[in-house]
C-alpha cells in the first residue's frame, strides 16, 4: 500500500464532493487508481476522456505510482 494525494477539478470535484483527499491504495499506476476511485464514487467520465497528471506534470496512465505522489485526473478541457 502507498499513500497518495488526489486533487479533483470541475466535474470530478463535484461528483466526489471535495477538492482533494489523501488516501491509501494498492493501485500500481494512475489507470488502476482511477478505476478504483471511479468504482467507489461513480465518476461518469470514462478514462479515455481524461488525462492523468502526476506531481504537477502530464503523465502516462501506466506510469508507476509511488508513495507521496500527487495525482490529478484531468477532465476534457474547455478554455477560452
Amino acid at each position: 500500500m502507498k499513500t497518495v494525494r488526489v486533487q479533483y477539478f470541475a466535474l470530478l470535484r463535484e461528483q466526489r464532493g471535495l477538492s482533494q483527499e489523501t488516501l491509501s491504495t494498492a493501485a500500481p499506476d494512475a489507470a488502476a487508481l482511477y478505476a478504483e476511485l471511479r468504482a467507489r464514487h461513480g465518476f461518469t467520465l470514462p478514462p479515455e476522456r481524461l488525462r492523468a497528471a502526476v506531481n504537477g506534470e502530464f503523465a502516462a496512465w501506466p506510469a508507476p505510482l509511488k508513495d507521496g505522489d500527487e495525482i490529478v485526473f484531468i477532465p476534457p478541457v474547455a478554455g477560452g
Binding site: 466535474l11 470535484r13 461518469t44 484531468i74 477560452g80
Partner: protein, 144 residues
C-alpha cells in the same frame, strides 16, 4: 512572453501596452467573450476553474512553441478563472510582430492550443436553472 491565470477582470488596454515594441508593425489580439448561447441553449453565466500549476506550465509551453514557429516579437496570454457573466472577457491573447502574417498565425495557434491543452474548465449556467461542465457530458447523461 507569459501565460497567466487571473481571478480578477482583465484589462485589455494594459495588456496591449505590454506588447509595445518599436520593431513591431502588426498587433493581433484575440478576446474570448462569454456569449449568451452555446449549442442553441441560452447561457446566463459561466464559472471557470483551472488546475493552476499545470495550466501555467502548459500555457508557457504553448507560447514557447509559438515563438519557435512564428516570427513574432511579443506574446501575452491571460485566462480568467472564477464567475463570469455575459459579455465578460474570459481570455485575452495579444501578439506583436514585424509583419501581420506571423501575428495572425501565432495568435490563432495560441488560442487553438490553449483551448484544447490547458487544464481550464467551464461550467455553463442555463436559463432553465441547470448547469453543465462543457465537454464533460457522457453517454447516458444526455440521450442523443
Amino acid at each position: 512572453m507569459s501565460f497567466r491565470l487571473s481571478a480578477q477582470p482583465l484589462d485589455p488596454a494594459a495588456l496591449k501596452a505590454s506588447l509595445a515594441d518599436a520593431h513591431a508593425g502588426a498587433c493581433v489580439t484575440f478576446e474570448g467573450w462569454v456569449r449568451n448561447h452555446n449549442d442553441g441553449r441560452p447561457v446566463l453565466a459561466l464559472d471557470y476553474e483551472a488546475y493552476g500549476a499545470l495550466a501555467e506550465k502548459e500555457g508557457a509551453r504553448i507560447i514557447a512553441e509559438a515563438l519557435e514557429k512564428f516570427s513574432v516579437t511579443r506574446v501575452v496570454c491571460v485566462h480568467r478563472t472564477g464567475a463570469l457573466k455575459i459579455g465578460d472577457l474570459a481570455v485575452w491573447i495579444g501578439v506583436a510582430a514585424a509583419h501581420r502574417g506571423a501575428a495572425f498565425d501565432a495568435c490563432r495557434y495560441l488560442i487553438d492550443e490553449v483551448k484544447v491543452r490547458v487544464p481550464v474548465w467551464k461550467k455553463e449556467r442555463y436559463a432553465d436553472g441547470s448547469t453543465e461542465w462543457v465537454n464533460c457530458a457522457t453517454r447516458g447523461e444526455h440521450p442523443s
